[in-house]
């Protein structure tokens, strides 16, 4: 519901509005615009990755089928995994974070709006390029983690792996950029009074996720560049004939790769921690324990990576150490599960589509979690590593543990973002189809793994006992697809015809519910002063004492910067408005990277464009330069 027009409101709106038209769309730097783009783009990649999976399941529905050629299947599973891990999961959760975090902490935008825009353009270019390569038949085909020597110059001479490396590099840049921004925004721009122990748990999760990205992505950046160098200029990092080692790739990749799955899981757990208190209509139980558990997960996740390498011949003693850490990481997750359990038990739950997805998430995460405990034992893993048992495990924890909370979050915040309510009935249908479908697809895979079916096989022989379960799994995939499709239908129909949502349709407790749906371009009319963890439950909307008055005379965008621990007001920061330079910087970087595959002259050309764009970006506005 739009607020009554006041002079302050009109002035703020004009300062913070995005420029109109297509050019305005290109130059936008508002966090909500950027966040929505991330979410929408990531959803497209979810659908693309899902379609790839459906075709893969068709190929495996029976033994010896020829829906796909062997090479085609290998490309499909590589594209599927890479899409879901790099182009869907992390960007989707980042997008939700970019949209919600400033609203939850009571500020008007993120700390580096142009960097935000740059991150999105880099991501979009990465995803589009990846799929264009696929359409032209040069897709990567070595799995989403592309082990050398297979992915090296000797055995994958085409351009497919090069496109994969380029996509990875761009995604990393986007993720790193978004993380730095999240950390600085959360540290510096919280509303007065929002000390760290009053931070919403979703923001805690985003903060820890961002720190994890800062430490986990650089090893991936390096190792993917090393692969590119091996492929393009003849280095020997992974070539045993010249002193290199294929295991170097595995170590560096998994030093990134294991934290990566917790980078995906943590914000999802954070979403759940926002929905459960509102559904149970009481504050979160064990807030401090949950915050500590989130931090503990972040740290512990860096000590597990060797469990991806149990079958490589490493010393058993070392593997047992990593196994112990792997088992222990269950505890911070269990702490959070019990905190939700207690909150629900003590509360008075209102069943909504969002909360239904939370219940589904809990069941699926626990099921996936116990198979995780099983495979963290080296001896167990020596039988099921690289089999369908592992495929079952990680789909339960990622689809159950991350995608279900994402959908729960979409149901929960759709009214805030669009101003309309999603259909509850369609939401329930969608949930049951996806939930039941997931079990039909992935539960039989546990058995297939035990029956000896390895991963990444384009076909299998009849008579091994795998036929029936593969067929069941394929049928389940279509049930799941129907569930996702129902969500899409729900979103489109509700966007057009859904009931109008007020500011706060669920009776929420955090600051995003204190502004209109959708929020105005400046987020809050006045910056709130926060006195507790559940600001909306602890003061009624009518009492606005203690709220900061904004200074409408300022012709530029400004945000309040507060101190790190207690969020005491410190100073005012001026933020930039719309600008085209982040797009040019992304384009320049893209030309430089992709150019390395086409013609070497494109590399300095692209670099030049990027440098000029960065200088123009950072150059002070005219009014700040002395005459």
């Amino acid at each position: 519901m739009p607020r009554p027009e006041t002079p302050i409101d009109a002035r703020l709106a004009s300062v913070w509005a995005t420029d109109p038209g297509f050019y305005g769309w290109l130059t936008a730097v508002n966090h909500r615009a950027i966040g929505l783009r991330y979410i929408a783009t990531a959803f497209v990649f979810l659908l693309l990755g899902g379609i790839l999976a459906l075709v893969m399941r068709l190929q495996l529905a029976g033994p010896g089928l020829a829906v796909l050629t062997p090479g085609g299947y290998n490309q499909f599973f590589t594209m599927h995994g890479s899409t879901m891990m790099f182009l869907f999961a992390v960007p989707m959760l980042e997008g939700i974070g970019i949209y919600l975090t400033p609203l939850m902490i009571g500020t008007r935008d993120m700390a580096f709006p142009r960097l935000n825009a740059f991150g999105y353009w880099v991501y979009a270019i990465a995803g589009v390029t990846f799929y264009v390569a696929f359409l032209f038949g040069t897709a990567p085909d070595g799995g989403w983690f592309n082990y050398p020597p297979f992915s090296g110059p000797g055995y994958s001479p085409g351009a497919g792996i090069d496109f994969w490396v380029t996509m990875i590099t761009f995604i990393e840049v986007a993720a790193l950029v978004a993380s730095v921004e999240l950390i600085v925004t959360v540290f510096k721009q919280r509303a007065p009074g929002m000390s760290l122990n009053r931070l919403p748990l979703f923001v805690w999760a985003q903060l820890v996720m961002a720190f994890m990205i800062v430490f986990a992505m650089p090893p991936l950046m390096l190792v993917s560049v090393q692969l590119m160098l091996d492929r393009v200029i003849g280095t020997h990092f992974f070539n045993p004939a010249a002193g290199g080692d294929p295991l170097l790739w595995q170590h560096l990749f998994w030093i990134f790769g294991h934290p990566d799955v917790y980078i995906i899981l943590l914000p999802a757990l954070g979403i759940v921690s926002m929905i459960v208190p509102v559904a149970a209509r009481r504050p979160m139980a064990g807030y401090t324990l949950v915050a500590m558990a989130i931090v503990a997960l972040g740290f512990l996740s860096f000590g597990l990576w060797v469990h991806h390498m149990y079958a490589t011949g490493l010393p058993v003693l070392g593997m047992n150490f990593f196994a112990a850490v792997g088992m222990m990481i269950t505890i911070p997750s269990a702490v959070q599960i019990f905190a939700w359990l207690v909150t629900i038990w003590r509360g008075r739950v209102v069943m909504t589509a969002a909360f239904l997805h939370v219940i589904g998430f809990l069941v699926l995460l626990i099921m996936g979690g116990i198979t995780g405990i099983m495979v963290s034992a080296p001896a167990f893993d020596w039988q099921v590593h690289d089999t369908y048992f592992v495929v079952a495990h990680f789909h339960y924890v990622i689809v159950g543990g991350a995608v279900f909370p994402i959908f729960a979050g979409l149901y929960f915040w759709f009214p805030k973002v669009t101003g309309r309510m999603l259909s509850e009935r369609l939401g329930r249908w969608s949930f049951w189809a996806t939930f039941i479908g997931l079990h039909i697809v992935f539960f039989p895979m546990h058995v297939l793994g035990f029956e000896g079916m390895p991963r990444r096989v384009y076909t299998y022989l009849a008579g091994l006992g795998w036929d029936g379960m593969n067929l069941v799994s394929t049928l389940g995939a279509f049930v799941m697809a129907a569930g996702i499709l129902l969500f899409l239908v729900n979103a489109v129909v509700s966007l057009l015809f859904g009931a109008r949502a007020g500011d706060d349709p669920w009776g929420g407790n955090t600051l995003e519910w204190a502004t209109s749906s959708p929020p105005p371009p400046y987020n809050f009319l006045t910056i709130p002063v926060v006195r507790s963890r559940d600001p909306l439950w602890d003061e009624t909307a009518a009492e606005h004492e203690g709220w900061v008055t904004s200074n409408p005379q300022h012709p530029r965008r400004d945000v309040m910067v507060t101190t790190l621990l207690d969020a005491a007001p410190d100073h005012i920061d001026l933020l930039p408005g719309p600008t085209i330079w982040p797009l040019w910087a992304a384009v320049g970087a893209a030309i430089a990277f992709l150019g390395s595959m086409i013609h070497l002259l494109l590399v300095p050309l692209g670099a030049l464009i990027a440098v000029v764009a960065f200088v123009a970006w950072l150059w002070p506005p005219r009014e700040e330069l002395p005459a």
Partner: protein, 328 residues
């Protein structure tokens, strides 16, 4: 297409018997059997608490909808007990068990009787018995009840040696030699498959481990040590010439001096081709018809293997196959 599928199916059935030929939970050796103990312990030990927690959650949801109440114990105590202490104790136990089982199955249960060097190639298995002077491919014989040491290597990309009914898997990484072991406690045919994605035909890179009573194993070794016999009649001699002229000898070795050696191990050693039950890394049955079809065009069965199609006039093809039939 139908004939190929039938051929492909036939081998699996012949080997499978009643199914479960590649099953982790049907152990036939001490490695797999100890691991399957741990499998059952961990499964039961995690499923039971998980079911309890899920039941509690569902109870809390439905109880909570009616409102009021909740456990009488304080929040912190409940969360720490249920989320940290109890899981911690359970997991500590599992860690200790896991460490014990893993350390145990990593080493042979008895001193190995001999060593087999298994080298993974795209898409077949080279097997050498240095203690016996035997070279073969895709089919490994072992004596029942004796431990066999394995030296696992790879010639090109990463592969992984896995025979589920006998033991867990171990990777074959270029530049490394991984030492592993297997032992079968009953005679039988055990199927294994490459367990690390290695390229186009990773899916059809399988092998057979055949466990025999020691006397039969010794007999097998004795036959495998024999070089190939010289061609006994003009047709077979013609076939031997075709083998060289058509280029087969460039990739496949045949011991005995009748066929010149080139690189040797691009493709499997064929000296005792006829003694093997399957062709193309346990993809198809080893019959005259299927061997003929495979030689003419391997890509019908395994598209993308390095072996090219062989177009020969019928007379030469017949002679070649007659010669190959002597390689028992």
């Amino acid at each position: 297409m139908t004939a190929r599928m039938a051929a492909v199916a036939a081998v699996a059935v012949a080997v499978a018997g009643c199914g479960g030929v590649q099953s982790v939970l049907a152990p036939a050796g001490p490695g797999a059997s100890r691991i399957s103990e741990l499998v059952w312990i961990l499964m039961v030990g995690t499923i039971v608490p998980a079911a309890v927690v899920i039941a509690l959650i569902l109870y809390a949801v439905f109880r909570g909808r009616r409102g009021g109440g909740g456990p009488r114990v304080g929040d912190t105590r409940l969360i720490v007990l249920g989320g940290a202490v109890l899981p911690g104790l359970i997991l500590l136990t599992f860690s200790a068990l896991s460490a014990r089982y893993s350390a145990e199955v990593a080493v042979p249960p008895s001193p190995p009787a001999f060593t087999v060097e298994v080298t993974g190639h795209q898409y077949w298995w080279e097997a050498k018995y240095p203690d016996h002077g035997v070279v073969t491919a895709n089919e490994i014989h072992v004596p029942v009840g004796q431990t066999v040491r394995l030296h696992l290597r790879a010639s090109d990309v990463i592969h992984s040696f896995w025979v589920p009914r006998l033991h867990g898997k171990m990777d074959q990484t270029p530049g490394h030699t991984n030492v592993w072991w297997i032992q079968a406690t009953e005679p039988g045919v055990f199927r294994g498959q490459c367990a690390e994605f290695c390229g186009l035909q990773h899916a059809l890179m399988a092998l057979l481990v055949i466990a025999q009573p020691p006397a039969e194993f010794d007999a097998w070794i004795a036959r495998q040590r024999q070089p190939a016999p010289a061609p006994a009649d003009p047709i077979r001699e013609r076939g031997r010439q075709v083998f060289v002229e058509a280029g087969c000898a460039h990739c496949h070795a045949i011991q005995g001096g009748h066929v010149p050696r080139f690189t040797g191990s691009v493709g499997p050693d064929l000296t005792h081709l006829g003694s093997r039950r399957t062709l193309a890394a346990a993809t198809i049955e080893n019959s005259r018809e299927l061997l003929r079809a495979f030689v003419v065009d391997p890509h019908v069965f395994k598209p993308g293997v390095r072996m090219p199609a062989t177009r020969l006039p019928a007379e030469q093809l017949d002679a070649l196959l007659a010669y190959l039939a002597t390689l028992q």
